[in-house]
Amino acid sequence: MDKSVATLAEAVAPIGDGATVMIGGFGGSGAPIELIHALIDKGPKNLTVINNNAGNGHVGIAAMIEQGLVSKIICSFPRSSDPIAFNEAFKAGTLELEVVPQGTLAERIRAAGAGIPAFYTATSFGTDLAEGKPVETFDGKSYVQERWLKADFALIKGEIGDTMGNMTYRMAARNFNPIMAMAADCTIAQVTRIAEPGAIPPEQVVTPGIFVDRMVEVAEPRQEEILIREGAVYP
């Protein structure tokens, strides 16, 4: 078993028009910038993107929007330090937005990975974001029913990966990456180093290989935050 692929282009090759794509990261931390840019090079259209945010500056998800790949974003927080790409597309009406509370977003993704089609949460009860959703009372308290959130693909970023797909993450770059790996039909990971099986002690594996389908090494990944401060634009 060897899940590694040689190039970023090969890694994202299966992603076609109309796909739903989860993208890991929280702001720039854990964002798989190189996979995103490889996807921009390929250029599929009408993608639904699931991320905590909605892009920043002119790289990563913001560049996907600017290059016309994205028709819908599902996120908790579309604001950023430089949200011009999202804002312009949203105001132009070319980009649909679904705002989901952050914990509900995380749990809907985890539920998809765990085979839980629906669950109840107190989050958003009584608010506009609960509109149209079933409400039920348990032990005298009201809860909103939320549905799992699946994707065709997940693009994630890790630190060390082995060829069987086992992965670790660097510090807070973990965030949405492990749960998105569980929730997509095909999970595509970029890691700083691809190692032989056994390189990650079994007790330290964060994402077991069963959740990962393709892995590509990006030995010196760029950090979105630094790219934005440099004024980088992709392509």
Binding site: M1, R110, A112, G113, A114, G115, I116, D162, T163, M164, N166, M182, E196, P197, G198, I200, P202, E203, V205, P208, G209, I210, F211
Partner: protein, 232 residues
Amino acid sequence: MTNALDDIKLNNDQIAWRAAQDIEDGAYVNLGIGFPERVAQYTVKGRTPVFHTENGVLNFGPAPAEGEEDWDLINAGKKAITLKSGAAFFHHADSFAMVRGGHLDVAILGAFQIAQNGDLANWSTGKGGIPAVGGAMDLVQSAKRVAVLTDHVTKHGDPKLVERCTMPLTGVGCVTRIYSSLAVVDIADGHFWLREKVPGISFDDLQAVTGAELKTEGDVLDLIVSGEGAPV
């Protein structure tokens, strides 16, 4: 009839061997406690399935030598195991996320009864006693492919492949292939489809010990256990 069957039927190792032939390279596989565990011994050369045990291990290997056991490293049957390179540990909720989330390619379990609609009964005889379900109900509802290993008939000679299960169900419409001591039978569209049978039994005799119609399409192959590594 039962005595006659005893001479031609496969033993448990042979059934396990046959099931192992269908496990693809790289498949993620959960083997039920007991008899199904033997499937791992007959992995086809050149293929590397990854075995999952619901107590939180991926990619474990065979039992250690006696005296070498580490009892923090066990399988769902509480037997000592070893690790292969690239193993991972995880907690029980994550382990069943793998199961329930449909990430396992194959689950192979034992059976009391299998109905032609795919229903499985394997957890309780329904006759009182102490019920114990373990992870069976989770596995059968969620693995991409659910297969059972079983004697074709009970110790009393009654069919285990039936029209409707009379014992308490483990899952509904979940089994798609049966590896029995006499045959390989698929389940589709509410029917048993005979794919292979041991050469020593006629179709009619096999039908006679099967509790529902055996349908066929195309050739029924001989179920022969042979080749490198095959049990005798």
